[in-house]
Amino acid sequence: MGKTLFEKVWDEHVVDTIDKGPSILYIDKHLIHEVTSPQAFNGLNNRKIKVFRPEKTVATADHNVPTLNQHLPIKEELSRNQVDTLTKNCREHNINLYGLGHKYQGIVHVIGPELGITQPGMTIVCGDSHTSTHGAFGSIAFGIGTSEVEMVLSTQCLLQYKPKTMLIEIEGDLREGVYSKDIILYIISKISASGGTGYFAEYAGSAITSLSMESRMTICNMSIEMGARGGIIAPDKKTFEYLKNKEFSPKGNDFYKAIDKWKNLKTDVNAKYDKVIKFNAEEIEPMITYGTNPGMGIKINETIPSSAINNSDESFKKSLEYMGLNSGEKLLNKKIDYVFIGSCTNSRIEDLRVAANIIKGKKIAENVNAWVIPGSKSVEKIAIKEGLSKIFDEAGFEFRQPGCSACLAMNEDKIPTSKYCVSTSNRNFEGRQGPGSRTFLASPVTAAISALNGYVSDIRKDN
């Protein structure tokens, strides 16, 4: 029997398998950041051991950094200590660090691909659940806990059970106004926030292959929001074109040799998945979430339902109470207070371009505070060069500096209690964007048009 793409990459990386136990999986690239790594380094120091393969780990500061005045020392003491601890650990263990002020600094899942650190066929891990993003390049990429960060630092390996495989196939042409964020929110609304648990998902079909690399990353990024450990997409010409001349991509003849290898990274025709789910691209419309888990999503012009798959009536009710919403109500035209364009889901240059295109020459509504947080220094630089930052500034957006920002509200970028935010991030959990905050997840296009109008808006009608 043939193998799926996932199985091919997995099998390549199995060092050994414990009898009646997990496999020992070799990790090609390990990304670390300031929040989930300090305790792992403490573990190494307690054992008096050094990082085993320091050249295979790359560090950046993103989760806990301010998005204003990054040239100044971090004001908040605990945050500063965490970032300083990362710097110290990287120095002591010879790890490349792209910290604040470095031209490569940015959200870990934005810089990996844009620097060519992420490559097809690799195993990539990071102490962050959105590591699934890197699967867009045909790599096995997933989030890990801090004990596992310690395992990778000390042995470049992890003990892992092989997940089941799932194919999500989407055929057909996408309708106008539908972006990759809508595709993934649609999938999660159909299978729920736990429908992918225990699985590793492969995305395929013409609606997926038609997408740019940035858009594919958005889809793989949110695989974890349906519970899947990761998502993977077979690399193709677009993947190779994207990786050409990136800082850490193979160069010259080595690049073409790599492509010859990468071309084989696809599922065999006779391979079997544990589960197959098919969607028609034409069913998908611009999406928005109304609840407190990413499975609670609707088409933007629909009314809020009275139940959701895999949510009990009690949980559903609690969720709507938190959101201050009712079943049967429409989100369309709902007044909003904040707009956040950013996060590892939607802060790449393509996201900023589509948003800027909508707001160009216009002003955001008076009732709205709107932030754009570029995903990396490189995205920031291109946005300034292309005049996008000026468009955002003139429209009344705050164009800030790179970091995770209000996606998880670890720094001072918080949505206040009971305020509504249309957000391009990945989680609408209670308090995720700040205690008491209320999040509507949507695409950068929906976020931009809603910022102009001051209420939840449909790009197909309100532009």
Partner: protein
């Protein structure tokens, strides 16, 4: 890691589904660089209001007994990979989380810290939640060796699954990192053959 011993305890019922790790420990409390002390902020925004006053309704503020077993709704631990979630539950004093379904990363993180996750059938979970409304002091037992979760009154007795490897690690307090460090030669050999 501490050895996991057979235990008897009353349950702390948290009848909420899809409890994500942001609820278990909000991001603003992840700024520490050590593993200790996270229990103080376990379920922070459900336990305390915006002015740090206890919310009397919340289960951790309601029960007046010690409990080592957290009983939680379906899809516990979804969302962020933060191991701080497992640390905060353990640090608070829990040694077992019982639910009908766990998120993958949380499960790994829990086991790596000696926190046992016990998965039982949904209908049994519902029955136990119901029973606790009337009998909140009912004691349950967790026997990892026999893979059994059962009540003192003899009504509930559930077998649970755990991989042999993880079971051995928990019972003996073995550590995955020790295991991996011991097979470094194999890892180097793998690298050379690549």
């Amino acid at each position: 890691m501490e050895k996991f011993k057979k235990l008897s305890s009353k349950l702390t019922p948290l009848n909420i589904e899809n409890v994500d790790t942001d609820q278990i420990i909000p991001a603003r409390f992840l700024k520490a660089v050590t593993r200790e002390g996270f229990g103080d902020n376990l379920f922070r925004d459900w336990r305390y209001d915006n002015h740090d006053n206890s919310i009397d309704d919340f289960i951790l503020n309601k029960i007046d007994f010690n409990s080592q077993i957290l009983l939680a709704g379906r899809n516990f631990g979804c969302g962020s990979s933060r191991e701080h979630a497992a640390w905060s539950i353990y640090d608070y004093g829990f040694r077992v989380v019982v639910s009908s379904f766990f998120a993958d990363i949380f499960k790994n993180n829990a086991l790596n810290n000696g926190l046992l996750v016990v998965q039982i059938r949904q209908n049994i979970l519902d029955e136990i939640f119901n029973k606790l409304i009337k009998y909140p002091s009912l004691t349950f037992n967790v026997d990892l060796n026999d893979q059994k979760f059962y009540s003192d009154d003899g009504v509930f007795e559930e077998k649970f699954e755990i991989n042999e490897y993880n079971k051995t690690c928990l019972l003996n307090g073995f550590d995955n990192i020790d295991y991996l460090l011991n097979i470094k030669e194999k890892i180097v050999k793998y690298e050379e053959e690549k």
